[in-house]
Amino acid sequence: MTTASTQDNFITSSDVALHDPNLRSALGKAQKGFVNKRADAIAAVGDFEAMRDTAQAIRKKALSRLDVYLQEFEANVEAAGGHVHWAETPEDMRRIVKAICADNQAQYVTKGKSMVSEEVGLNAALEEAGLTVFETDLGEYIIQLAQEAPSHIVAPALHKTRQQIIDLFKIHHDFGERDLGEIKAIVDEAREVIRERFLKADVGITGANMLIAESGTAVIVTNEGNGDLTSSLPKTHIITASIEKVVPTWNDASKILRVLARSATGQAITAYTTFFTGAKRAADLDGPENFHVVLLDNGRSEMLGGEFHEMLQCIRCAACMNHCPVYQSVGGHAYNSTYPGPMGAVLTPLLRGEERDNLLPNASSLCGRCDSVCPVRIPLSGLLRKLRDKHPANTRLGGLAVTLFSWLACRPVLYRMVSNAGTHCLRIAAFGKGKIRRLPLLSSWTRFKDLPVSDGGSFQQQWQQRRS
C-alpha cells in the first residue's frame, strides 16, 4: 500500500496531481457522470428536498441518543447469535479482527469495500499476521493490485484509466495473450479471478452503511454483489463499522436509503441492499456460523456534542466530493487520507489530527456546492471555516496582510481613499493595456495569468457612478 511520507501535504500532493496526465484523463471522464446522474435521479422524484429533511432528522435523532441505540444494537446482535466488539483506536480494531481470524484458523480473507478498514489499515495488519487478503469490490481489487489507497469513498479506483487497469491485469493475471480493450473483457476477467476466492475464503469482512438498533441488523449497499458473496460464503463474517452508523429503526433506515444511492451514484436504489441479523440459523442452507461486528470510535465520541458534531451525520455518499471543484481538479490522493473531498477535509483533521492535516480545510473554494448537495444537510463549508480558524494557514506576511486589510475595512473613509489611490496606481502601472503581467509580491498570481486592471476607477467609484 502506498502511503504518504510525513513531508507530503495537500499543497505538494496536489501539485503532483495537477501534472499527472493519467489522473487528468481519469478525472475528466468520471466527474460529469456523477454530477449528471445525481441530477437526473433527483429530477425523477417528487420532492428530494423533503427526503433530505427527513434523512437529516433521522441522523440527528440517532446521534442524540447514540449510547442508547448502540447498546440496543449490541443486545440485539447478541440475541441473534452474533458478537459486538468495541475498538477505541485503529490499533484496537486491527487487533480484534486479527484475533477473530486466528480463533477461526483463517488463512484466506475476502473483503468487501469498507472505508473503516481503510481508515485503520486493516489489510496490512492482516497480511503481517500471515493471512492472504483478497479485495473483491472491483475498484478495491484494482487498487490492491496497484498497491495504492482508494481515491474516492464510493469509486476507489476513480483515478485509474482503462489502460492502467489493463496493464495491471496483464501483470497480475496469468492468462497469456488476450484482448482486454473492452470494459466487458476487464470485468469478466476480474469476475473469473475473484469467483474462486469467494469460494475458498475462511473469513469475509465487509463494512456497513448502517446499523439498525431495533433488531441488531447491519446494512450494506452495493451494486456488484461482492458484499453478499463475501458475507455469505465463508464460515465467519466480520463487519467493520464506526459507531455513528447506527439508526434506531428499519423505517429510519429506509429514509436514509432513499437519499443514499440517489446522492452517490444517481440510482434510485443500488442493485443490492442487504440486511444481516446475526449468524446462520439452524435451518439455513448457507451463511456464516460466526458473526462479529467491530465498532470503531477513533475520535468520533469526542466530536459528539461539540462544534463539529454535524459531521457525524455523514452517510458517506460522496456527493460533496463529486461536486467539489477542488476534488475534481486534484482527485482523492492529494488529500493523503481515506476520506478525501470536503467531508474528508473536515473529518481527517478531527480523526487523525496530524500536522499536515491542518492544511486540508484550505482545500476548498468555499463555493458551497458541498452544502447544497449533502443529503443530510451537513454545513460542510461552515465546518471548514471553523477548522481554518483553529489552524490559520497564512504565512506571517499573509497574516499581516489580512490584519491590515481587516483594520482598513473597518474604516470606510480611509478604505475608500486607499482603494481609489491603489486603482489609480495600478492603472498607471498597466500603461493603458488594462492588465499587468508582473507584479512584486503577487508573482504567484502573475506567474499563471495577467492581473486585470480596472479602467473605470475603483469598485466603489463605479458603484457610485451607476447609482447616480
Binding site: A87, L229, G278, R281
Partner: protein, 210 residues
Amino acid sequence: MSEQPTARAAILKRIKHALQSSAGEQEIPQPESTAPSTVAQATLTKTFTVAALAGGASVTEIASLNEVASFIAAKESALPLSIAPQAELASVPWAAESSLQLQQDYKGNNCSGVVIAESAAAETGTVAISTHSCPSGLLFLTERLFVVLSKADIKADYEGIWTLRAGQQSAERPRTLHLISGPSRTADVEQTIQIGAHGPRQLDILLLGG
C-alpha cells in the same frame, strides 16, 4: 480481547458525557411518520414494472406457477437450472420441459437459478428474498436469476416490506434479507456501467397473478 469491557465502557462514557453536556442545546427534529399505503394493486404493479425495467430487469406476466418451467426453458436452455428449496417451486412441472437440465449445486459450473420472492417494493422495482426461503449463494453465484413474484406481494415501498416482520425478535428474523433491484453491475472502470460484475448478469422477474 480482554480489554473489550474497558473499551466499551470508555466509549459509552464519552458518548454519555458529550450528550449530557450538549443536552438542551440541540433541538432534535422528529422524522415524519410513515402513513400506511392504500394504493390499488394494479397501480402498484404498474409502478413496480416501470421501476424494475429502469433498474435493468426484464418483467413478464405469467398466469400460473406452472408456466415458470416453460418460460425458463424458452429463455435459457443453455445453462443448467438450480431451483430454490421452496415448496411452491417443487410443484412446478419441471420434468415436462425436456430441454431443462436441473442441478442442485449452484457453486460449481455456471448455472441459472429460480426463486420465489417473498415481497417487493413498487417504489424502486425491488424484490425481497431472505435466507428463510433461499440460500444467498443461489441468488449471487448464478449467471441468470429468475424471480417469481406474486402481484399480491407487491408493497408500495420498503416500509411495506418491513411490516411483514414487524414485532419479530432478532433471532426470529432471517439471518439475511436481500433486496434485489437489478442485475449485478459495476462502474469501476472509467465510470462506465458494465453488467455482470460478480452476481447474475440477467434478472428476469415473472409476475404472477391476475
